[in-house]
């Protein structure tokens, strides 16, 4: 999309088309001739994998909607109908439900990669923010999709999440009533969630187009964080990136298939195979694994409104990241101290995820009673999530701004190619 086009129409039809709607040229320039940094590693293949995930979700979703009934009375039974009666319905539904998890695995690795290599820094701020928007839309879509089977977890998950908005003073209750279309989660809620769950993936697809557009304007970042300076720094997208992406997709699909065929319910909850009952909440209600870190942050804060704000703030930090990081060096490959904090951050997110899945008052180390600090035993998941929540925010609000000013990074190579090909200037 940027730079000089090298597209050569090969026959009369493509010449005719090129003069009218140059789709072939667009594809050629974006995905064939497009220069990519020569040092991209496998962490850079998740963008392609994510497009694949979106495609899989849309195709399986359209098929599922042909058999699904969006009503409180019919939803649960229609999902069972898909599982038992519809030809290959079980396969299509398992691909769709596990596909959501695969989508999030890929998006988290994609985000951590961006974090590590500084892919959010100038001139890629808009690219990064569009990515954050996609992530938000993904969470909304996944949440509404999880409600649709209308099982116990679906129903009470919807109750808890929609009640989050009720935490806001004055307008909270009006918003939840508007969201529910009633005085509780019920039929109208399910119907609108279905409508929006069908819509949002296409909105995501639209923002993905903007994301890729922004990517192709500024060019890809790379593990050195140094912008390409000459032809020696880049290779054409095809065959180099297409083959690498294709291989990574194949490996990813093996993992995907392992879940679909051998452990299709490993990432779900047994309670969701019980039809929704508004009068009984499951004893242990947890969101899907990809929301657990944020759920842990919500529970870490003893105040309702503050908990909700902290949870949204945790995502808000991502949006502000391009301006929070003060370092002049993009890639953490040359920032040894930043690497250390980054590793702690990844572990922190993992621990938050674990905490989100446990009961707050359970002991982290079994059978060890320490002492009660404020409202809970110190050896409890609620305190572990408080400590890790603190680090989560400190990483964005303290480490990122301060470290960039005080650390002494390692020398950054002149060009991408110089560490690989050797610096010809110095040799001479």
């Amino acid at each position: 999309m940027s730079g000089h086009s090298t597209y050569q129409p090969k026959n009369a039809f493509s010449r005719w088309m090129d003069a009218r709607l140059p789709v072939g040229r667009l594809v050629w320039d974006s995905f064939v001739d497009y220069p990519t940094p020569r040092n991209l590693n496998y962490w850079y293949t998740f963008g392609g994998i994510l497009s694949l995930c979106l495609g899989v979700q849309i195709i399986t979703g359209i098929v599922l909607a042909m058999h699904y009934t969006p009503s409180a009375a019919g939803a649960f039974n229609s999902v069972e109908h898909i599982m038992r009666n519809v030809n290959y319905g079980w396969l299509i539904r398992y691909i769709h439900s596990n596909g959501a998890s695969m989508f999030f695995i890929a998006v988290y690795l994609h985000m951590f990669r961006g974090l590590y290599y500084g892919s959010y820094k100038a001139p890629r701020e808009v690219l990064w923010i569009l990515g954050c928007v996609i992530y938000l839309l993904m969470m909304a879509t996944a949440f509404m999709g999880y409600v649709l089977p209308w099982g116990q977890m679906s129903f009470h998950g919807a109750v808890v999440i929609t009640n989050l908005l009720g935490a806001f003073p004055i307008v909270g209750e009006t918003i939840t009533t508007l969201l529910w279309g009633g005085f509780a989660v019920d039929e109208p809620t399910l119907k609108r969630f279905f409508s929006l769950h069908y819509l949002l993936p296409f909105v995501i697809a639209g923002v993905v187009v903007l994301h890729v557009w922004a990517l192709h304007v500024v060019g890809q970042n790379n593990p050195t964080g140094v912008e390409p300076k000459s032809k020696a720094d880049t290779v054409p997208f095809t065959p180099y990136a297409t083959v690498k992406d294709g291989f990574a997709m194949s490996v990813f699909l093996i993992l995907f298939a392992t879940f679909v065929f051998y452990m299709p319910n490993a990432l779900g909850h047994a309670d969701n195979y019980i039809a929704a009952n508004p009068l009984v909440t499951p004893a242990h209600i947890v969101p899907e694994w990809y929301f657990l870190p944020f759920y842990a942050i919500l529970r870490a804060v003893p105040d309702k409104l503050m908990g909700v704000l902290a949870m949204f703030g945790a995502i808000g930090c991502l949006f502000a990241l391009p301006w929070l990081d003060t370092s002049k060096v993009k890639s953490m490959r040359y920032r040894p101290q930043a690497q250390l904090y980054f590793v702690i951050f990844v572990v922190t997110c993992w621990i938050l995820g674990v905490c989100g899945g446990k009961l707050p008052d359970d002991h982290v180390i079994p059978h060890l009673k320490t002492f009660t600090l404020f409202d809970a035993d110190l050896n409890s998941y609620v305190w572990l999530s408080r400590i890790t929540t603190l680090y989560y925010f400190a990483y964005f609000l303290v480490v990122m701004p301060v470290l960039g000013l005080v650390e002494k990074p390692r020398p950054v190579p002149e060009t991408i190619s110089s560490p690989v090909l050797g610096d010809s200037d110095k040799k001479d």
Binding site: V159, V160, W180, G181, G182, F183, L279, T281, K304, D375
Partner: protein
């Protein structure tokens, strides 16, 4: 122009018209609770034992997030009957009866403890369990809503 598209999301006429509920209290033994559906939400009707009422009254002066004496939470002269909306004031889960540190209700979602008066004593919920509008039609019959 935008308003009709926003307003359509609000409760529709039939939802707004949801009738009130009547319940026959003779079905509930002392110490027992029934959960009925009221406007799509669970409604607790609990027949409290004398010990449970005493425990609630005894704690009237205790420090709690949303202080309220037990006497304000039931109809006059009907201390045994507690009628409450069964949604945790934190995030709307249904608390389980008899659980928690105060033997009132315990919310499994985020660990809110309510006492035998339905008052929040411990955990993230900010308010007591809501007492809906209701009236005794006779000694053995209540009408909620």
């Amino acid at each position: 122009m935008a308003w009709p598209f926003i307003a359509q999301m609000n409760p529709s006429a039939d939802t707004m018209a949801l009738a009130s509920v009547e319940y026959d209290l003779t079905k509930i033994e002392p110490g027992m609770q029934v959960t009925i559906n009221w406007r799509g939400k669970p409604l607790f009707i609990r027949n409290r034992t004398q010990a449970q009422v005493d425990a609630a009254v005894k704690d009237d002066g205790a420090s709690m997030p949303d202080p309220q004496p037990d006497a304000e939470r039931h109809k006059e002269g009907k201390a045994q009957w507690l009628v409450l909306v069964g949604s945790c004031t934190h995030l709307g889960c249904v608390p389980t009866v008899g659980g928690g540190d105060y033997q009132g209700w315990f919310c499994p979602c985020h660990g809110s403890h309510y006492d035998t008066s339905g008052r929040i004593r411990k955990g993230p919920a900010p308010l007591n369990l809501v007492v809906p509008e209701y009236a005794f039609l006779s000694d053995t019959k209540v009408k909620i809503g």
